[in-house]
């Protein structure tokens, strides 16, 4: 038995002294919030009205569907994959919701969320069992969902005449808080709890960091992945509900443009695109940052061309700040 050699590794006391995250690690995990704060201040400097309650609430409201959309996809990214189909799936879901509302009424939105979850799970299954890179499966999914949406909607936007059963997706609670924001926070909280309270966290992390090792440790890698894709799909469905609630109609291309913003939100939040490191709360912050850039810049009067340039520059800087490099071995 190798007795502890004088003055090395054995820390004072016993191994039970857990070496927690260092100060710098804590700082990097706070970075997304800092970036958000800086951005708000900057915008307020240009246009003081931006700090009005109503303005900030509008940002929060705008960020909500994006946050929900990205939260689900975050799980897929944590598992080391990527889901490019979320936006198209959300568009399809919006069409289905608009079509089903008259018939199913209050059951319509749960039905849509369930359908979207199934669609996600199917992609997950294809990825896991056919061994196709998630990038490709979901890229294919993207175009397939778009086609289905075009066909079932007859390539037209489907108006929603009676939206009572989904109005909760676009009202104000406690005076001026957008209900959508509450939904987003609830979704993120639910996911966060589900992951952190159960062994899922280490299962997901292990899968993301080192799939081979995870498998040989008996982690149900395939199950975890399919699950992640299902959740991602469900979130896309829910995001669609929020969008329909505020657009009063569903459209076959309604949410398509949210794909890259969603991915950006995930990465800006500090989740490693390579998998393993990150979390859903971070994505919530990321969504706010991205929304500020998407909407804030233009409304404070930045012209189209410079808006685009600034967006590009700031998004990169934001990631540079939020990325915790100690957790990412090589940056590709």
């Amino acid at each position: 038995m190798s007795t502890p050699a004088a003055g090395t590794a054995e820390p004072s006391g016993s191994a039970a002294v857990a070496a927690g995250p260092t100060a710098t690690e804590r700082l990097t995990s706070l970075m997304p919030v800092l970036a958000l704060a800086v951005l708000v201040v900057a915008l307020a400097a240009v246009d003081p009205d931006f700090l009005r309650r109503s303005s900030l609430m509008a940002v929060v409201d705008a960020a909500a569907p994006l946050a929900v959309l990205a939260a689900g996809a975050t799980l897929v990214v944590l598992c080391g994959g990527i889901d490019l189909s979320i936006a198209a799936l959300a568009s399809l879901s919006s069409v289905l919701l608009a079509l089903w509302l008259p018939g199913l009424d209050a059951l319509a939105w749960p039905a849509v969320v369930a359908a979207a979850a199934v669609a996600g799970a199917l992609q997950g299954a294809a990825h896991v069992f056919l061994r196709i890179p998630s990038f490709i499966v979901t890229l294919g999914g993207m175009s397939i969902f778009s086609s289905i949406a075009l066909v079932v909607s007859g390539a037209a936007t489907v108006p929603v005449d009676d939206d009572t059963s989904i109005r909760w997706g676009f009202t104000r609670v406690l005076g001026s808080v957008p209900s959508a924001a509450v939904v987003a926070v609830a979704v993120v909280a639910a996911l966060a709890l589900l992951v952190t309270l159960t062994p899922l966290d280490s299962a997901i992390k292990a899968t993301g960091y080192s799939e081979a090792a995870a498998r040989l440790a008996g982690v149900p890698v395939d199950l975890v992945k399919v699950g992640a894709f299902a959740v991602s799909g469900a979130c896309a469905g829910l995001a669609a509900v929020l969008l329909v609630a505020r657009t009063f109609s569903g459209g076959p291309t309604l949410a398509d443009s949210l794909l890259l913003p969603a991915v950006a939100a995930i990465v800006v939040g500090g989740t490693a695109i390579t998998g393993g490191h990150g979390g859903v709360w971070r994505t919530l912050v990321g969504a706010l940052v991205v929304t500020l850039l998407r909407v804030g810049l233009s409304t404070v009067g930045v012209s189209a061309a410079y808006e685009s340039i600034l967006y590009g520059a700031i998004i990169v800087v934001a990631v540079a700040l939020t990325l915790d490099r100690s957790k990412v071995l090589v940056v590709k």
């Binding site: 050699a5 090395t8 857990a18 982690v219 149900p220």
Partner: protein, 516 residues
């Protein structure tokens, strides 16, 4: 500070000299003022427990680790090594503990990688020249590998030859004898391959100085002219093999007397052959092994030996469901074991310790605790919910139980030394306390004497508790020492079975005859 090195100084300045080198990591002083000298055309051995600081020291010598204090002198002059390039320019090169070749390039490209010289003209490869340059290196070490073969098509041993050939390129840079560093080169080689490696080392001595690290003390004493012993980041002594024997070396390493019986043979509890087998394999067939029959009784340790390509590794993986089988059946305790995948195996109480620790054994960035409870989430949960306190308790118990050297349970396992990582991986299957069959693929690879001895004791203990063990041993000695029975495999078939009761152990030579 030990006075040994200075006492032994000779008139001609040593090729390489290290003075008071210090390197501290969070919670660890990896190097704590090391002194050492490497002389011309000598093979210098480094021995020490896991975490003693060997790799760190060597990395400092090739510019991969920046020392916090101390100095490095090459041929008398003080140098600051910022990169592998720097080190190479000073004639120092290293073969790493984990292999460092690019699989999708040719051997030739790997050998000249980073120092192509005439092999590249105006950015264009001149394959003919490349080939020649590489061939020169390979000839030096008398290797017959085709330089244009894709590296990932070579065997492990061949790849190591390529690595040595690659390191020897540093000769071109310096006009004095180069220093070639080998960190645990033998830990992954078969007995036959080790012999050829030793020939290489002796050949190298003709024109280079060699620093050699191994946990197999007999090896160290066999090839080295001098041996430094590292402990706790310090050089605690120097030994001349002539006047030494493993026992003494070991004592110096751990600073206490070595366990008399390395393999704890005494603790072995003979298993009555009448007892029903726990694991029964019948006509199992995979891609590299054919109709294998095998029995392992509860409490029995069965070692499978065989050279590369004997198919024993894949057989081991197959039993865990990690590779597909085409025929045959496996019974665990009379019930059929579905070989659908690792999950099924785990559920049935089978545990597997893979040989490729870094890639398959551990999840580098995850904490020691999470790695340890990865397979048996139950131990840290109440119902479906994780209870951090439970995890802490279990993990800490096993950390001290196996005396795993780590700053804490929340430290990333990647930061531990090779040996300590392996202990965590092994503990993964024990925390549950429900494992019935252990498949150990080179479980002591890269472990120091003490750690190994500890692992052996554990295996005995588990066997005592009725756990059946299938062992792919690191060496024949280990196989014979530990096993109740040794099964010999060669090209995919079980050829013979040799009983090794506590009393009448066979000699390695008997086995070697069977293997080839």
């Amino acid at each position: 500070m030990s006075a040994h090195p200075r006492a032994a100084v000779r008139p001609a300045p040593p090729v390489l000299e290290v003075r008071g080198l210090v390197k501290a990591y969070p919670g660890v002083r990896a190097l704590d003022g090391v002194d050492l000298q490497v002389r011309r055309n000598e093979v210098l051995g480094l021995a020490g427990e896991n975490g003693a600081g060997k790799s760190t020291l060597l990395k400092a010598l090739v510019g991969l680790v920046r020392p916090d204090a101390g100095e490095i002198r090459v041929r008398g002059e003080r140098v600051r090594l910022r990169s592998v390039q720097d080190a190479a320019d000073h004639g120092i090169g290293m073969v790493f503990q984990e292999q460092s070749l690019v699989g999708n390039l040719t051997a030739a490209e790997n050998i000249v990688l980073g120092s192509e010289g005439p092999g590249v003209r105006h950015g264009f490869y001149r394959w003919a020249t490349m080939r020649r340059l590489a061939q020169e290196q390979l000839d030096k070490i008398g290797s017959t590998i085709d330089p244009l073969a894709r590296t990932d098509s070579l065997t492990f041993a061949e790849r190591q030859m390529v690595e040595i050939a690659k390191v020897l390129r540093i000769e071109q840079r310096t006009h004095d004898t180069p220093v070639v560093i080998l960190d645990e080169p033998t830990s992954v080689l078969e007995p036959g391959e080790i012999e050829t490696l030793f020939e290489q080392v002796r050949r190298l001595r003709e024109f280079a100085s060699v620093v050699f690290v191994s946990h197999r003390l007999d090896e160290v004493l066999d090839v080295c002219d001098r041996v430094y012993v590292l402990r706790g980041g310090r050089a605690v002594g120097e030994i001349r093999p002539a006047e030494a024997e493993p026992g003494r070396l070991h004592r110096m390493m751990i600073g206490s007397t070595a366990a008399e019986d390395h393999y704890h043979g005494g603790a072995a509890t003979p298993v009555p052959p009448t007892r029903e087998p726990l694991l029964t394999v019948r006509g199992l067939t995979g891609t590299t092994f054919r109709d294998v029959d095998l029995d392992v009784r509860a409490g029995e340790i069965v070692a499978v030996v065989g050279v590369h390509g004997s198919g024993r590794e894949e057989l081991c993986r197959a039993l865990f469901g990690a590779v597909a089988t085409s025929a045959g059946e496996v019974l665990l305790d009379g019930r059929k074991l579905a070989l659908t995948g690792p999950r099924a195996a785990c559920a049935a109480g089978v545990g597997y310790v893979p040989a490729e620790r870094k890639i398959e054994g551990m999840v580098g960035p995850m904490s020691v605790a999470d790695n340890m409870t990865l397979a048996k989430q139950g131990v840290r949960c109440a119902g479906p919910v994780v209870v951090p306190r439970r995890q802490a308790a279990v993990v800490d118990r096993w950390i001290s139980r196996l005396s795993i050297r780590t700053p804490g349970r929340r430290t990333a396992i990647g930061r531990l030394s090779g040996g300590n990582q392996q202990k965590v991986v092994l503990a993964r299957w024990l925390v549950g306390g429900d494992v019935r069959l252990l498949l150990l693929d080179h479980p002591t690879r890269g472990l120091d004497v003490g750690a190994r001895s500890e692992v052996y004791r554990l295996m005995r203990e588990l066997a005592g508790n009725g756990v059946a063990t299938l062992l792919l041993a690191d060496s024949l000695e280990e196989a014979i020492g530990m096993a109740d029975r040794v099964v010999v495999m060669s090209d995919g078939r079980v050829t013979t079975e040799v009983p090794c009761p506590a009393g009448g152990k066979p000699s390695p030579l008997d086995l070697v005859k069977e293997m080839v």
